[in-house]
């Protein structure tokens, strides 16, 4: 289990230090500083073993978060916890910076006391934490309130309190996907995958039970089979191109896993407010929103010509936004002339790249950029390594083909039905590492 948790600034000064177990000595703080933060060579591994003690660290901007243990713990658990910790802190005071950490150190210690007990992670749900760790100073809570919080936190459904009431029952569902791609200059896909997550914002009264349906192949197949005798026409509709193969997925703690195992249905009582319902990953049948066609020609030793064509590959009715293409330039570039038909392109010397920005771009379109790069003769005979051209964008559909089929809300105790709930669904596809070699 986690023996202690430290937060350092970029200089290695300790901002927060919390030790949960006696086996972690005082010198552990220094050991990490000396061996990782101030190491001669940059430490790349997130897990470092120093004198039989393991340090797991993540870095957020200039801040180091390190969990330390002497035991053989599940590393994935530790990192999951650290990421949750970051999430919690962000929801309390925004960006994690040295300044913010220093200003909120009391709060952080309070949170640390709550979310880790003797090194065992506890409830890290922000919504719940916010009910009893508040930033508005010490609010003297009444006896009932405290006992309610206690029973709720220790109860079966720790993530939702009772007695929530809304005049309008509303819920928002965001399907956020990031597409990762590596493509060869000839247009061959070398690797591609989509990492998606479903974020839900719920404003529902009472303790509603939700059922969520998606177009996953496995879920739909079993469902189809069980419903075979009910309606054969429906089975025909579900089997086909519209289902997708999800490689792996992960649910929020509120989802009843036993039901998922036995009935292949996703059913849950949602926490109040925003939460991440599900994460998933797919690798098959990804519709790539953009295609980049590079053309690089080296003209002698002092000049280079680059031509880049970007093609959008989705329905013409849709509009991509925040499109940005980054074309790396050689390290001995001494001047760049760029011409582009659409958007704006600029040579950024500090990043050694030409950055081409297009605000909006419809589907099935094509834009072109051509650049002339002047080079300086150098003594170095090393050839330019030609890093890949990368791209950023945002599109209003899910590139994996993911579809929300239904989301049903049942609240037996209160008198609102599924039809009364206002539901919003939104799909956003973003670029992850979207790269094309040139």
């Amino acid at each position: 289990m986690i023996g202690g948790l430290f937060i350092y600034n970029h200089k290695g000064e300790v901002l927060i230090s919390r030790v949960y177990r006696d086996d972690i000595g005082r010198n552990a703080v220094d050991a990490f500083r000396v061996n990782v933060i101030h190491a001669r060579q940059q430490v790349r591994s997130p897990v470092t073993n120093i004198a039989r003690t393991s340090f797991f660290h993540i870095k957020r901007s200039n801040i180091w978060l390190a969990a330390v243990t002497k035991q053989n713990v599940n590393a994935a658990m530790v990192f999951e916890f650290l990421l949750k910790m970051v999430e919690v802190m962000q929801s309390y005071f925004g960006k994690i910076t040295e300044e913010n950490v220093k200003n909120n150190f009391v709060l952080i210690y309070e949170i640390l006391d709550e979310i880790l007990d003797f090194g065992y992670p506890q409830n890290t749900d922000t919504g719940i934490l916010k009910t009893f760790i508040t930033q508005q100073g010490v609010k003297s809570q009444s006896k009932e309130e405290t006992s309610q919080i206690t029973s709720q936190v220790t109860g079966q459904i720790g993530w939702r309190r009772e007695g929530i009431k809304y005049r309008r029952n509303e819920l928002f569902l965001d399907v956020l996907e990031s597409v990762n791609l590596l493509m060869s200059p000839q247009g061959q896909v070398l690797s591609a995958h989509v990492a998606g997550r479903i974020v839900m914002k719920s404003y529902l009264s009472g303790m509603p039970e939700c059922k969520f349906g998606i177009n996953d192949k496995v879920l739909m197949d079993t469902r189809g089979r069980s419903n075979m005798d009910e309606s054969s026409s429906r089975t025909g509709a579900t089997s086909g191109k519209s289902s997708i193969a999800i490689d792996d997925c992960q649910f929020h703690q509120c989802v009843k896993l036993s039901k998922f195992e036995t009935e292949h249905s996703i059913s849950f009582i949602p926490p109040d407010g925003e939460f991440e319902l599900m994460k998933y990953r797919t690798t098959k049948d990804i519709s790539l929103p953009f295609r980049v066609i590079p053309l690089v020609r080296e003209v002698g030793r002092s000049k280079m010509e680059v031509k880049v064509v970007v093609k959008s590959n989705f329905k013409p009715s849709l509009l991509a936004q925040k499109v940005e293409v980054r074309i790396p330039t050689p390290l001995n570039t001494s001047g760049v002339q760029v011409i582009c038909m659409k958007g704006r392109a600029k040579y950024k010397a500090s990043e050694n790249a030409i950055v081409w920005k297009i605000k909006r771009m419809g589907g099935m379109k094509e834009c072109q950029l051509s650049a002339e790069i002047e080079l300086l003769n150098t003594s170095d005979k090393k050839k330019w390594t030609r890093p890949p051209i990368s791209m950023n964008f945002e599109v209003p559909f899910a590139p994996s083909g993911f579809k929300v089929r239904y989301l049903k809300v049942f609240e037996p105790k209160l008198n609102y039905s599924d039809h009364d709930v206002i539901k919003w669904v939104r799909y956003i596809g973003r670029s992850g590492h979207y790269e094309t070699r040139c």
Partner: protein, 984 residues
Amino acid sequence: MNFVFVKTLKNSRESLTDRKGKKINVFFRALPRKDQRSCNLTKKATMPAVKGDNMRGLLVFISDIRNCKSKEAEIKRINKELANIRSKFKGDKTLDGYHKKKYVCKLLFIFLLGHDIDFGYMEAVNLLSSNRYTEKQIGYLFISVMISANNDLIKLVIKSIKNDLASPNPVHVNLALQCTANIGSKEMAEGLGNEIPKLLVTGETIDSVKQSAALTLLRLLRTSPEYIQIGEWSSRVIHLLNDQHLGVVTSAASLIEALVKKNPEEYKGCVSLAIVTASYTDLQDYTYYFVPAPWLSVKLLRLLQNYPPPEDPAVRTRLTECLETILNKAQEPPKSKKIQHGNAKNAVLNEAINLIIHMDSDPNLLVRACNQLGQFLQHRETNLRYLALESMCLLATSEFSHEAVKKHQETVVNSLKTERDVSVRQRAVDLLYAMCDKTNAEEIVGEMLEYLETADYSIREEMVLKVAILAEKYAVDYTWYVDVILNLIRISGDYVSEEVWYRVIQIVINRDDVQGYAAKTVFEALQAPACHENMVKVGGYILGEFGNLIAGDPRSSPLVQFQLLHSKYHLCGPATRGLILSTYIKFVNLFPEIKSTIQDVLKSDNNLRNSDVELQQRSVEYLQLSTVASTDVLATVLEEMPPFPERESSILAKLKKKKPTVTEQAENKEPKQPMPQAQMSNNVNTHNTPLSVPAASNPPSAAASDDLLGLNSPGPSQAAPSAGSFLLDVFDTVGSSPPTNGVDSNGLTPGAEESFKKFICKNNGVLFENDLLQIGVKSEYRQNLGRLGIFYGNKTSFQFSGFSIDTHCSQITCTPKPVGTTIESGAQVQQVINIECITEFSDAPLLIISFMCNGNSHRLNLKLPVMFSKFSEPAEMDSATFFARWKGLSQPNQECQKVFKAKFPIDTEQNKTKMLGFGISILEGIDPNPDNYVSAGVIHIKGSQVGCLVRLEPNKNAQMYRLTIRASKPPVPNILADLLEHQF
């Protein structure tokens, strides 16, 4: 001054790049300093200060970098700046000097931050041709930091340097010299090797330039001496020592010392000059913390150490006076409490003492130096004590001062015990060793032994060796020696190397008078409940030899001795157990009354079936020996060991090997003292020879005798190839060849012919072995080609030098691959010899090995185990074909028949193995008589093949064989028959 600065910058490059926090500060501190310097120098050189020289852009850039919050931001800023500089260098070619300088400066700064810079070199080289001091300076700075020796631009740089060297402006010359000294590459030495000496000796150059030139020349001399020709200017260079300017003299002294080391004769003239300079009274003008010109003095004194004391009495007196002055000065009370004063004074004094020791001629001075060092021995400063001990070590070897050194014995012993620093204690041990002689040996050895108990682990082994040597060297009474060594083993048995206890055994064996005493002492020592294995070894050996001398005493009756030894037996390792087993068999001879007890022990499963082959074999053989042999035989076989031949102590050799410098110096200076060679020797070279075989039937002269009973276990790697046939081979060779020294009638080393014959039917095995060397052979043949791997194993504890191998062969091609000329002790070297069979042959190639071992040269003439039959491959055929071919070869010269007596019992299986090993097949069912062997083979010769058919008919009743060989080529049957005849 700038020279130093540039150097620091360059040296600190590595550290600068990895410590981000510090590096900017360093550069920042450096910048204003540099500017200051340049201003100072410009003033000196009467150059007008240039306006706008502060390079604001650079300052802005540096402060930007300093204000960067994160590493990423810093990298972005640098990328931006680099792009800017690139566009500037690319764009307008008409950058003025100021801008060029500024950008080059920025590049340099970026480089120092740890980024690679691959452009801007050309601009920096352009800056060199500028006339402005600051531009030139930055150019040189950039070049000396960035340009590696093999850059293409180095030619251009050298050209600019040449121009600057010829410049009338001394500041430019100095810059050029600094750059040369900083880079100091081969090309520079080649290009400028002629210019710099000229600068050094012409009258026009000013002093500061001369100074730099001398140092630059020194640097080039160190990197590439082959290009520096001073030649005709040597006398003028020497006269630089006469220069008025102290700086010139100091730097020239360094240069001259380097030159003297290269060519002492040419620069002999510097001696008198150096002495004159050293005694200069006007050195008083240059004092450093009240010490007149300490650096110069030290350099001159060191320079003088390259020559013997001067012949000319006048010069000599002057030098003596000079040294006396220094010694006098040391006596004066310090003029300052500052540490620098003390350091400078002691540095000069120390160098003076070194010179006195080097000259080793004036007893008065030597004694004074010794007294001075004696004072230092008790000084507070650890470094001084260290130096004093070290210098005294040298003084102790001089005949004049030896006595004087001895006075400080008590202090040294004291420092050995109380000193905190182990390196100082080490020096104290060295000094004690050096000052030991007959008069104080007992005392010193006693002290060292006493100290050994608490000594630091790192110096223990050396101390043990030293104690052992001293005890042996100065032993008047050998009982004392035995006591000391036994004590040594008792106190620090782990650090007693093999050599030490071998040696004590040799001495005891060679001297009758101590044998009884030794036996008594070891017996007593063994009675200690826990004693070291080395002690058991010594005890076992000595009791086995001389146990009878103390058997009269009922307290050490034979049975008691045996039981005492046997109580240790189970605690020891296999090597020691083997030794103890030998002792037991010796006991059988010495004390027949306990024979049965010993036989019981040997019979025990623990010994008789020991998993260790060596122990098992010993047990079995000794048991047999004790039951089979009569008392007479036993007495002969187990006779007392004969005295060992005299040789240099191997311990000394070991000590030399361990610490080549100090002890060798001491030893080299020691011939004046006679080495008290007791009747001692060592024969400890082989791994466990002195113990394993108590003088067997032949006197210990022949090489093979060690292996007589196969007792000596050769190293596992060597044993492997011969494991099966080894014993058998040894037995049959011993009977037939009485060992003679030198060579036999064929000019071969004894045993060579026999071992050659062993190889007729096999490919791998031991070709030759004596107590120095073991030669193993592995071979493989394919058609008419062969490949021999010959393994030379050094069995001694000395290095073989001048190892050379020669092969002589007339009828086949024999190409040995070269091997190194040395073989380290215990090492094995492999040589590969490729062989090609060109025609049939009967004489095997000769292998001549010569080498030096421990000062003796050895030569071995051996026969390479290559026979004609090796190129034979078995051939299969049926009865009909065989007889058809047999009949086809009916001419008289195609057949050879021999009838001979069986040398071995006629054994079908063994014979088959031999025939197959010979390279011919065994054809079954061809001969009507099943006892006969019929074989066929094809022999490959370059370009052709010879088929041969063999028939071997044994006659079991008469123990005879008839061998018939037929082959297509005339001499082949005879050759094969000769080879095969001796195998059955």
